[in-house]
Symmetry: C2
Subunit: 152 residues, 2 copies
DNA sequence: CACAATTAGTTGCGCGCGCAACTTTCCTCC
DNA sequence: GGAGGAAAGTTGCGCGCGCAACTAATTGTG
């Protein structure tokens, strides 16, 4: 392998921010997956549905898709899995029978209550490698980027 | 939909850093994909292989997998696609005939030279929404997180 | 020097994803 | 109030991914 010799603007992948964000996000997800996959048998889409339905009872698949920015088919399948496993319940809305109102079953509520503190603890552990000032600056930058990209 | 009422530590997904990183990385990738997908017909794995082979001529699939942290089968298939499209060439190494030495073909080199400035420009556009100080703090935080997670 | 263990790379398989098409229900407008 | 269009959610399809198993070549060990 030869080393690069050009004097032109180079693109070194490990220093390229889009690549670094992808890699970082994948690693953080992997770090979190230990909890919801191995200990609760949930995959990312199911975990996101649980996390969304938990505090917002009676929400719809549409709402979950919009707030997590997951494709609606991905949401639909995650919900089907959770219903099959009796962690959430579905009932068609009285005022719009196209919509499905979602809520946690008692078992789902227990799973949710067990999961949330562990997830928050993992987030805390991750961000503990940054100083308080660094952390708040980092989150502010995230917010700016989110606005710029039309997220948030 | 009812609003949350608990006084307990809540987990609101749009404020949860691991989720935000995933969403941000996906959006940035999508933003970049306009270039390498629509204008050059490359998917992410192929783009990463091109970007790695470009400056490091004669590198191996193993090297690409390690430096991009892609699974070796993903790298293998990306390379196969690029060889089929005559953008890179493969030749077995003299000293270890298991290894495949990779280099860009002339057409691949032209694609690479056209792609790199566009990709760097997109990165610049993205980061332009941060001030210089914010940006360098952001990249420093990325570096700290990368070290913490065993990347980098 | 032969045999076991390791490494580079490829491939069969099952699965989850996104797209597009579909059903059902609601809304709009004349 | 009936017809056309839009929205919520589901499903068939093709595809790319990761896992595990495989081939071929190399290295280590007695």
């Amino acid at each position: 392998m030869s080393t690069p010799s050009a004097g032109r603007p180079a693109l070194h992948l490990p220093g390229f921010v889009p690549f670094r964000l992808n890699r970082l996000a994948a690693a953080v997800s992997e770090h979190l997956a230990d909890i919801y996959r191995e200990r609760f048998g949930l995959e990312i889409p199911e975990w996101r549905v649980m996390a969304t339905v938990g505090p917002v009872r009676g929400c719809t698949a549409q709402y979950i898709a919009a707030s997590t920015r997951m494709h609606k088919t991905r949401v639909s399948r995650a919900i089907a899995n959770l219903v099959r496993r009796r962690l959430i319940e579905r009932s068609s809305s009285a005022r719009d029978r196209r919509q499905m109102r979602l809520r946690l079953t008692p078992a789902g509520r227990r799973t949710y209550e067990a999961l949330v503190p562990l997830a928050l603890e993992r987030e805390r552990q991750l961000l503990a490698c940054l100083s308080a000032a660094q952390r708040s600056a980092f989150e502010r930058s995230l917010a700016v980027l989110e606005v710029f990209l039309g997220l948030a």
